[in-house]
Structures are given as C-alpha cells and as structure tokens.
Symmetry: C2
C-alpha cells in the first residue's frame, strides 16, 4: 500500500483523488489561512470544488468565534461560504450540552472560561451561562475573593458544567472560580484541547494551554468536544447526513485533523503542509498517524 500519495504537480492523481469524494471537511487555521493571512488562491480552490458539486464543511477547533463570526471572516477573506457550512468546537460543545447532557433547570448553568464565540453558541442552543466575557471577572483577585469562594458565597449554585475554550483574558479569579465549581462536582468539558494556536506564521498558546490551570488544579481531564473527539464527528454527520466513505478530511495537524478523519472512518484524509505538521512526521518509519495523501498547499488541488 505504500505511504501517503504526494499530489502536488500531478494533475491526473489530483483529479482522481477529488473524484473519489462527495464531501470535503476542511480545517481552517493552517489550511485556508494563518491568523489573518490568507494563503494564495484559496478562494479559487474552494470555488473549483463547489463547481464540481462537492459538499463543503468547515470544521474548526477555534472556539473564540461563533459560526456567525466565522461567516464574517470568510466574507472578509473573499471565500464563499454559508453559516450553515461552518462547524466550530463551541457549537459542538453547545450541542453536546443541550442535546446529550440535557440539563434540567435550575441546575443547568455553564461556567465559561472562554470568549464570546462560546457564549453565542450556548445562546443559540438556549443554554444559560455565566463567566466568559463578563467584565467583572477581568480583575485582580482580592483577599476577600479567597473567603467568598471558600464559603461558596461567590459561587452560583446552579452551575452544572465548566466549559473551557481558548481564553485571551485569563485571570486568577476565573481559574479560582472554575476550580471551585469542579471541586463542587461540575462536569468538565472543553471545546478543544489544542496545545497551540497557529498565528502570524508561528505558534501561540491554544485552548489546551489556557485550560491547563484547571486541569492541573482539579486533577481532572475535560471531555473535549473538538477534533479529534469523535463526538464532534458524530455531530457533524448528524447535521449534514453523508456517507463517511465518500468524505475526506483536509487539515494541517496530524494529531487533530488527520487523526479525526481516520478515527471517524472517512474515505480519505489530505494533509497540507502550510500549518503545524511537517511531512517528515508522517513519512517517518513507524509514523502513527498517516494521511491518505498530501499537498504542499491547498491550492495545489487547482492542478
């Protein structure tokens, strides 16, 4: 069977590869763009796939943006996309909470460590939440806070879930509250646990990093609802209804994107080399996660 197929520059193989699939699931950061930098000829590549009648789903672990935010980002980048085609880890987590956990009022609140993307998606599923972007938590911890958290006075008794995502505004107070809720028995969920976030051509701390204080302090691991969690794949299939064998996952990270596609039993996986993982990682003898094919960059699919 050999290693992964290298498609860049090989017109016939590219065409054959594309023809095998009805659905393409795309990771975004590291595939379409890096932060605010759009990679060359991405809009044209997406258009080409649409013209061939492919169904496209944009699957992102970035929890800071809602589907609506993402749609705006696609618009700004000049990439055609509808809000319905976006599937983010905040949406995945919100669906899990509303449709799987099915919490009953009054003990149905979510304490959020994250940005507005998480809050918007919880709102879209009518899940009550606290924390998140609440400006009253973006302050220093005061001696009084130790007492009111310890006594429970500062805690909302209706919190049943702690949900962490990427938080650009961490504070000791927010971590102390999250730790207290977890010690009180709240369920621990994460939109995703990516250690890093690609931006500006390098790596910054990801959701797994800004959630790490709660993991360390509580001694608990969260259930992660983003890639490579199959809870996310199940939710995507539930929404879009497709044959997994006719679907291909496209991404830059072996241990999230490619693993996500392989574990989900998709017909194929395509690695692009514009993000985190290097080809040496999957071409190495004994590599654990190996894509079906790879290209230097996504626009190589234009042939």
């Amino acid at each position: 069977m050999g290693g992964p197929q290298y498609l860049t520059g090989d017109k016939a193989s590219i065409e054959a590869f594309i023809d095998k699939f009805d659905v393409f699931l795309f990771d975004c950061d590291g595939v379409l763009w890096s932060g605010d930098h759009l990679f060359p000829k991405i809009p044209e590549t997406i258009d080409m796939l649409r013209k061939k009648g492919k169904q496209l789903v944009f699957v992102t672990n970035n929890s800071t943006k809602s589907r609506g935010d993402y749609k705006k980002k696609f618009d700004g980048m000049g990439i055609q996309c509808s809000e319905d085609e976006v599937f983010g880890s905040s949406y995945s987590a919100s669906i899990y909470i509303s449709r799987i956990l099915k919490l009953h009022a009054p003990k149905n609140k979510v304490y959020v460590l994250g940005e507005s993307g998480v809050e918007q998606e919880l709102d879209s599923e009518n899940v009550p939440h606290i924390g998140g972007t609440d400006p009253s938590l973006r302050r220093d911890m005061e001696p009084e806070d130790f007492k009111t958290i310890a006594s429970g006075e500062a805690l909302d008794p209706d919190v049943a879930v702690v949900l962490t995502g990427l938080d650009y505004h961490p504070s000791y107070l927010k971590y102390a509250l999250g730790m207290a809720y977890l010690r009180n028995g709240a369920k621990f969920l994460a939109t995703n646990i990516d250690s890093s976030l690609p931006s500006a051509g390098t790596l910054f701390p990801g959701a797994g990093a800004t959630s790490a204080p709660l993991i360390k302090a509580s001694g608990q691991e969260p259930l992660a609802l983003g890639k490579p969690s199959q809870a996310m794949m199940d939710a995507i299939e539930g929404k879009f209804q497709f044959d997994r064998k006719k679907a291909c996952m496209v991404g830059d990270r072996l241990n999230t994107d490619i693993q996500f596609g392989i574990e989900g039993g998709l017909g194929g996986t395509l690695a692009v080399l514009t993000g985190v993982s290097q080809k040496e990682e999957f071409l190495a003898e004994g590599a654990k996660v190996v894509p079906s094919a790879y290209v230097d960059s996504l626009s190589d699919l234009l042939g």
Copy 2:
C-alpha cells in the same frame, strides 16, 4: 516495623521523638497557618522547640513572597523567626540560577512569570530579569502583539531562562511571550509545581496550575526548584550545614513535604493533619509516601 507513629496525646512518645532531632524543617502553609489564619498555639510550639535548642528552618514553596516578606508575615503572626531561617522556592530558584547555571552576560536574563517574591530573590542574587510584575504586561493581547512576538521584535534576545512561580496576574500576553522564549531555546525552570494553594480552608490554583499553560503550550516540563525537588534540599543543607539523620521534615502534604524529607534521607518526617493530606492516605494499605510520625496539629507537640 508498622505504620507511622501517632503522637497526639502521648507525652512520652512526643518527647522521645523531639529528642531524636537537632533540626526541624517546617513547611508553613497548612502547618503553621492557612492563608492568613494562624493555627492555635503555633508561637508557643515554635518557642518550645527553640528552648530545647533546636535549629529551625522554614521551607516554603510559596514563591510569591521573598524571605523578607516571610519574615514580616511571621512577625505579624507573632511567631519568632529570623530572615535567615526562611528558605523559599523563589530563593532556591535564584540560587540555582546564580550558582549552578552561572549564566554569562549579556545572555543571562530571566523572563519571570510570577510575583514580586521571585523578583526580590533574583535581585538578591544579582540576576537580571524581565516580566514578573511589569505593569506593561498586565494588559490584553492586541493583534499587533501576535506579529511582534512572531517576528521576535517583542522579545529580549538576552533571555536565557523562563522561570515560573505562582502568578496572581496571568495574561495571554505573558503566556505568549513565555512560549516564544521557550521555543527560542530558553531553559525552563519553576519555583515549584504545586497544583494547589491552601487558603481560607480550601484549595486554590497553585504555581503548577498558573504555570500549566506554558507546560502544555511548549510540550516541556520545567525543572522545579521547590519541594520535593532535591535541588532544594541540597541548597538548604549547603546553607545550614547539618546532619541529615538528625533532621526532621514537618509538613501537611505527602507528595511534597513528606516525600521531600524521605528522598532527602532525613532522620524523620512528621505529618500534620491541618492541611492538604488526610491520614487515610498514608494509613492505607500500600501507601507510597508514609511519614515516620503524625499529629493532628503541630501544637500537639506541646504535649
């Protein structure tokens, strides 16, 4: 040989136990006090040991305070103590950097993630440092920061070490800078990696928790210079010059204090039940870390 000896209420055994040692190493939080709450009869207990001619060393993993800060806290609590008797994890880390690493200028700066205790102890060893309590880093991450960190413009080329301690003022910007220095090859040290901090009768995130984003984001583990690291025991012995067989470690945490004493080959270890660990943990069949003796609270040594 049996389990640990229970001393509370047993006057003869207490006297025999105390007589075995010339030196007592004390953990502070959870032993003498919890946060700002002094436990009963602690000053009297310390006085009793001094009258018996014991050498006392107060060994604390709390990195937010310098030895000078600690001396003030002892004074405020009414416990007799000299600054020289205090040995904190920030001091331990500073000694490691100045006397073991022996960095050469100009590449000899330490990027600090922590409070003023770390900075004061670095100053006491003439180690240059940045970060820490610098108010310009206690702000939101801006889009421009991603670019200047990625380009290296925001980084000090003379940083050779990233040192993390308990940080009550974490920020995404501080974590992003720390991650960049580590990716550039800086050595990763931690004053300590305690997961939690006892305060107000419960547990809050510790230095290990506020350092966790850098551990997760970099994929590297820091060398921890606090308990139970034997680097700290070596530094204590180097400073105070004593026979380890005639020394006893007193503490509330099995996996830091008691382990620290056992691994250091001390003559004895004494657990107190006023902090994190419960007696069930060391009395259980197959317990891994077992003290030589235990008391309900330190003042039980008064008999």
